[in-house]
């Protein structure tokens, strides 16, 4: 506390106040506040756990949906005209190669 040049000497009252508390209030209050803190901790842990489980379940559902969509979209692969062309060219190439080969040419078929 500070010394004051004011007409009233604050030291005559000091830090006294007229405020009272019920008997044993602070002991009960401290216990109640600690119980409240524990409750809040448990609640926030439960919330976090729910959030993690919820997110994991959503991810699993999403992946399942994607997998199901891919399975239902699967069709037998058909040969395209380009494949036929490629095969036709291959036969022609074989003929050219056979004609040019002296061993094959001289063979008695």
């Amino acid at each position: 506390m500070e010394q004051s040049p004011l007409p009233f000497d604050f030291n005559t009252v000091g830090k006294k106040t007229p405020y009272l508390t019920p008997e044993g209030y602070f002991e009960r209050s401290e216990a109640a506040l600690k119980a409240q803190a524990r409750l809040l901790n448990n609640r926030s842990r439960t919330t976090l756990r729910r959030w993690i489980y919820g997110t994991a379940a959503s991810v699993v559902l999403l992946l399942s949906a994607i997998a199901i969509k891919n399975i239902t979209n699967l069709k037998p692969q058909e040969a395209t005209p380009a494949v036929y062309c490629q095969n036709a060219n291959a036969t022609e190439d074989w003929h050219d190669f056979a004609e040019a080969d002296i061993f094959l040419e001289n063979m008695d078929w």
């Binding site: 506390m1 009252v13 106040t17």
Partner: protein, 163 residues
């Protein structure tokens, strides 16, 4: 945190809201806020200012809701004086102590808050400025005006100067 601060915060809140039951409720709300916002506390060294700021805000919010106060500097002291007179947990035995507290309650909220934080809790002006969101200069001025007003009220029965 609870062990360290629950008594000083109770008394700080009690001096602001006057009623014991109100102080109990505000203290509980304060610790809920402390718990919820603990992760936002950037500097652990400023924990005292931080918890006092939360307690002060909770007490002011409580007063605004209960007495429909408009701002920090615009209020009706009669409600608080009435609470002081009627609360079952008020000691009316010492007239000077009672008159001193009546003088404190007649101060505008900002001066009363600064006076309580300095006089009873002995916080440095820097911390008081942080708690009340003002400057060190403003905190010092408010404290000295508050002391002058209390002194005048006790010696002359008037709360002048009306600043």
């Amino acid at each position: 945190m609870i062990e360290r601060f629950h008594r000083p915060l109770y008394w700080h809140i009690r001096r602001m809201v006057v009623s014991h039951e109100d102080a109990e409720d505000v203290l509980q709300n304060t610790f809920v806020q402390i718990h919820v916002h603990l992760k936002d506390l950037a500097n652990a060294e400023q924990v005292r200012s931080w918890v006092y700021r939360i307690a002060t805000n909770e007490a002011l919010q409580w007063l605004r809701q209960k007495h429909e106060f408009i701002s920090l500097d615009n209020e009706d002291a009669s409600t608080l004086l009435n609470t002081l007179a009627t609360d079952p947990h008020t000691d009316t035995g010492d007239e000077l102590v009672l008159k001193f507290q009546q003088a404190v309650l007649r101060l505008p909220t900002m001066q009363r808050t600064v006076f309580n934080l300095r006089y009873y809790d002995e916080l440095p002006y820097e911390e008081i400025a942080g708690i009340t969101k003002s400057t060190v200069g403003a905190a010092k001025t408010n404290y000295h005006i508050a002391k002058e007003k209390i002194s005048n009220y006790i010696t002359h029965g008037t709360i002048t100067p009306a600043i």
